[in-house]
């Protein structure tokens, strides 16, 4: 795999991109275009036929380019005397146009599958995409063209693979990953080694049998083939496992294995490739191989970690240029991948390390919007890449050339299955002796059955040099068959099998604050118990690492005060913010009353003696939750009006954390005005004492200008300014934070806001007991599944959601 650079050093990336010259459809379109354009340009018809001729006659793109270009040129100069008002130069835009066309095809296919409701329930998307690839390849062949070598190794390893791996690494569920790292490493290293040697060795033995016509196959190429075919493929695993919603443990076991076996595959591949010419392998080479493995894996992780820390450090200073923030995440990660590939280290491990290292710090530094951008870009890129990979796999199958050998292919498929099962069962037997949560037989079955092979194997096979490996074509055919077998047979049956075996599924529930409290609680509790038991266990070291991280690393890598924030508080703030957004979004709609199915407010849990609760109950017909909601709607309405007055600036985003959900504001505006009228009626009807907090809020809500009064009346009461629309202030982008900290009003940031307060940019509100009630009804909102669904941006906090498949 790492030969990519050396083998294709003379090609640039763009020149190896898939040429889709004569994809039939395109030709039609092009012809039509030609027709129209030329008619418009009052040109003669021979041009069209000329184009068709060139189109039919040349298959190599480079030839075609030159000749077609000259054709056109002669044609144009020959037929046209007048100045060409409109001319057509397809070759000028050919490469990017075709890339876009492929991407468009991929995206449309993906879109199409989800429009057919029952299909995606039965057949995994990856299978459908391969079928589409086969069809496209077939069409190209039918059109009489040479199928382009789309799944070029260079393109695959440098363009298509990194987004998928980065997505996986950035959103890697660290906790379960680290808790099971021993098992994962065991499967990834020992398991892959076992598979490679078992498959390779037995294949060689089979090849020696008379009558198979395979006696010319030597041992080393067999082992090389074994090492290519034995590695579980992350792309295929992701594609299938995301759809079956398996429980977290099994998912991380199979997926983690597929990520970490990269180093083993790289080393084995190089080792066997190197020695397949030389012949003999000495014990010295084995030792060197082991050292090489350590360097490749640890070096990859080190490179990734360095870039990850650099990215985190850079993001510390981006508070003034928020727009380019997401870029750093992508660029540093890609650099990590390329740097690792440069030294033939494991690029996949570098990417994983980079993403996992940078994430906590970057997330604390960048704005909420940037985080959303990062998230969506990663998901978008990885899903497009994945789609393209599967389509290309199909096209490459049609492209051939194939050398079908029944014995070789069937033995490969059988051996892969057998070795996987033996490997998993054998390794689990050893691992279970050390594991506390043992792997059951069902788990073992899923781990073994989920070992899908994919495009990495194909690309590695594609890289083999034909001169050194005369069996390359046969290898490729066998690899493709194995991929198809695993993706189609195993991928399609794994879902029913999971249901049949009643394997524990993933918990779909949302992470609650109580669970978060108890996660933290348990961590400290177990650390304490370990300390009392008097031995350094996992929890002890984890605690040490956490404290080191908090004390030194976070301080360096996270800007401002946020590094002090414990995880629980960060979680709480994110949750609060998310619920606020949810509330505003749902409240902005028409069905305001139904948005709050259950209303448990602070007064329900507060001991009755508290005066604010009594005061609030003066308005019995109007529950706290609803009032708070109305207030919020009106407040955001107000801000939005202000915000629209701001001029557009290319370099700064308008700093309104609520903007995300407000794109359709103008449409809603009319509704809002009506709502406002209705609600201010509600609020002012009960004759509460003029100075009660309720009244103040009501007035504040119904009349934006009234906040001067409130300011006067709230003298001596701690206040906080909600400054939601001031792009000038660098802090304002962190407003999500400030906003959610209303309860903790004495925060340094809050004070600073008050100090630098500009009356045009914010409004004052009395914190009083409002914050609590709000929470109350937010909890209520939390319960409504419909409400959850209408949340367009799930926010950065929800680990579970991020682990969930992005594609439904």
């Amino acid at each position: 795999m790492r030969k990519v650079c050396s083998l294709h050093a003379n090609y640039t990336i763009s020149s190896s991109l898939p040429p889709l010259n004569y994809f039939k459809l395109l030709k039609r379109i092009a012809t039509c275009l030609f027709g129209t354009v030329l008619t418009l340009g009052a040109a003669s018809s021979p041009d069209i036929s000329a184009q068709d001729n060139t189109g039919g006659g040349h298959d190599r793109r480079d030839d075609h380019r030159g000749i077609a270009g000259s054709h056109e040129q002669t044609n144009y100069t020959y037929t046209k005397k007048a100045f060409p008002v409109l001319s057509l130069d397809y070759h000028h835009i050919q490469v990017p146009f075709e890339i876009s066309l492929w991407v468009l095809l991929a995206s449309l296919m993906k879109l199409g599958f989800h429009l057919i409701p029952r299909l995606s329930g039965i057949v995994p998307e990856s299978c459908l995409l391969i079928v589409v690839g086969l069809l496209v390849g077939g069409l190209i062949k039918l059109a009489g063209e040479e199928v382009p070598p789309v799944l070029d190794s260079n393109l695959f390893f440098l363009c298509l693979l990194p987004p998928i791996i980065l997505d996986a690494g950035y959103f890697l569920p660290i906790r379960p990953f680290m808790e099971n790292i021993g098992t994962i490493l065991m499967f990834a290293v020992v398991g892959t080694l076992w598979n490679a040697f078992f498959v390779g060795g037995l294949l060689y033995a089979v090849c020696q049998i008379e009558g198979t016509y395979l006696s010319q196959v030597e041992l080393l190429p067999c082992l090389l083939f074994g090492s290519i075919i034995s590695a579980v493929d992350p792309v295929a695993v992701l594609a299938v496992f995301e759809e079956i919603h398996i429980n977290e443990l099994l998912h991380i076991l199979v997926f983690g294995e597929s990520l970490l076996n990269d180093a083993v595959t790289v080393v084995l591949y190089h080792l066997f490739e190197e020695y397949s010419g030389a012949g003999e392998v000495t014990p010295m080479d084995v030792v060197l191989g082991v050292i090489c493995f350590l360097i490749v894996s640890l070096g990859g992780i080190a490179v990734g970690a360095i870039y990850g820390i650099l990215a985190a450090f850079t993001s510390r200073f981006t508070s003034h240029t928020r727009v380019i923030e997401p870029l750093f995440v992508f660029v540093y990660s890609y650099m990590a991948y390329l740097s690792a590939e440069m030294f033939h280290l494991s690029g996949i491990m570098a990417l994983i390390a980079c993403g996992a290292v940078m994430r906590p710090y970057v997330e604390a530094n960048i704005s909420h919007k940037s985080h959303t951008t990062v998230k969506y870009f990663l998901k978008m890129w990885s899903s497009v890449s994945e789609t393209l990979i599967f389509i290309f796999l199909g096209v490459a199958t049609v492209a051939g050339p194939h050398a079908w050998n029944w014995t070789f292919v069937s033995v490969t498929v059988i051996l892969c299955l057998v070795s996987r099962v033996i490997g998993v069962v054998g390794l689990t037997f050893i691992i279970n002796k050390f594991r506390i949560v043992k792997l059951t037989t069902k788990d073992q079955f899923i781990v073994a059955y989920g070992g899908l092979r994919g495009a990495i194997a194909f690309s590695l096979g594609y890289l083999l040099n034909k001169d050194h490996f005369p069996m390359r074509t046969m290898f490729l055919t066998a690899i493709i068959t194995e991929i198809f077998f695993t993706v189609f047979v195993q991928g399609m049956t794994i879902k029913p099998l999971v249901d049949l075996l009643a394997v524990k599924k993933k918990q779909e529930a949302k992470r609650s604050i109580n669970e978060e409290i108890h996660t933290q609680f348990l961590d400290h509790l177990l650390t304490g118990i370990e300390d009392i038991c008097g031995h350094y266990g996992h929890h002890h070291w984890k605690d040490k690492l956490n404290r080191f991280n908090k004390k030194y690393i976070k301080k360096c890598l996270i800007a401002g005060e946020r590094y002090k924030e414990p995880q629980l508080i960060a979680f709480y703030h994110k949750m609060e913010f998310k619920q606020a957004i949810e509330l505003v979004e749902s409240g902005g709609g028409v069905k305001l009353p139904s948005a709050m199915p259950s209303q448990v407010s602070m007064q329900n849990i507060q001991p009755k003696k508290l005066p604010p609760a009594v005061a609030e109950r003066a308005l019995p017909q109007f529950t706290k939750g609803r009032e708070e909601e109305i207030r919020k709607i009106l407040r955001s309405n107000l801000q939005k009006t202000r915000q629209r007055l701001r001029s557009y600036n290319r370099h700064t985003l308008v700093a309104d954390p609520f903007e995300d959900g407000w794109n359709d504001f103008l449409l809603k505006k009319q509704r809002m005005i009506e709502l406002e009228k209705k609600m201010s009626n509600y609020l002012t009807v009960p004759a509460a004492p003029p100075d009660s907090p309720t009244m103040c809020r009501a007035r504040l809500a119904s009349d934006p200008n009234a906040f001067y009064n409130i300011k006067a009346s709230s003298e001596g009461v701690p206040t906080i300014q909600v400054d939601l629309a001031s792009p000038q202030s660098p802090d304002s982008v962190n407003m999500l934070n400030e906003f959610s900290k209303r309860g903790a009003k004495d925060q340094g940031l809050g004070q600073r806001e008050v100090a630098t307060r500009d009356e045009d940019q914010g409004l004052m509100m009395k914190p009083s007991s409002a914050g609590k009630e709000e929470k109350g009804e937010e909890e209520g909102g939390n319960k409504n599944p419909g409400l959850m669904r209408c949340l367009s941006d799930p926010g950065p906090s929800n680990e579970d959601e991020e682990d969930e498949p992005f594609l439904p």
Partner: protein, 218 residues
């Protein structure tokens, strides 16, 4: 005499192993640790546990120590605290942190789950009245965040309130403004942590071999 004493100890250990589920090696190790902590006394006091320096950084230090002297955790169904505990009690508390066995039935799993959650619940329910009141929950969260400085103390209350509201809205559904949610009962506690796999998470690796060299001492 030495032989008879060791025979007696072995017999005792076997008895303890049957009751707590620990292996004999584990009990041996824990006994060594117990002796080390209690300075070779028969009983262990709060001071002995408080003197473990590794606990100093633990925000839950006081709660953990209290849990060892809480009668409810000693598998006797009575409330209150004791001043000193013997080795048997020490083992009883520790046995809450044993990992689940490999093949257990659903009922056993549920039982284990309840036991472990009960332990946590008891840690929160400081006055042993069977409910975690808002006050108690607030204190628990404050303890949890006690190492986080002032930010922690201010937010702790809000977090506990939010958590309490979550419990109330999950377990009660809609509540009238004048209704009062008095506190989290154990049933509510089970319900709210339904998806929290405590049976696979709340465990410590008890060593089977003697690792005197790895001891972190006091």
């Amino acid at each position: 005499m030495g032989a008879s004493q060791s025979a007696r100890t072995e017999h005792e250990f076997q008895d303890l192993a049957d009751r707590t589920g620990f292996s004999l090696e584990q009990i041996g190790n824990l006994n060594k640790r117990f002796r080390q902590l209690s300075k070779n006394e028969e009983t262990l006091s709060r001071q002995d546990l408080a003197s473990i320096s590794a606990l100093d950084n633990n925000p839950l230090r006081a709660q953990i120590i209290n849990a060892f002297f809480d009668k409810r955790n000693l598998r006797q169904n009575e409330a209150g605290t004791v001043q000193v505990i013997g080795f048997e009690e020490f083992l009883m508390v520790m046995s809450h942190f044993r990992p689940a066995a490999m093949h257990i039935t659903e009922e056993e799993r549920e039982k284990l789950r309840r036991e472990k959650l009960r332990f946590v619940f008891n840690m929160h329910d400081t006055d042993s009245d069977g409910t975690i009141t808002l006050e108690e929950y607030r204190r628990a969260v404050e303890e949890l965040l006690s190492k986080a400085g002032t930010i922690g103390q201010e937010t702790a209350k809000a977090i506990a309130d939010a958590a309490m509201l979550e419990v109330a809205s999950t377990t009660r559904g809609k509540m009238e403004p004048d209704e009062f949610y008095e506190g989290i009962t154990f049933e509510n506690f089970l319900q709210i942590l339904k998806t929290f796999d405590i049976e696979t998470r709340m465990h410590v690796r008890f060593l089977n071999m003697d690792t005197a060299t790895m001891r972190c001492g006091k």
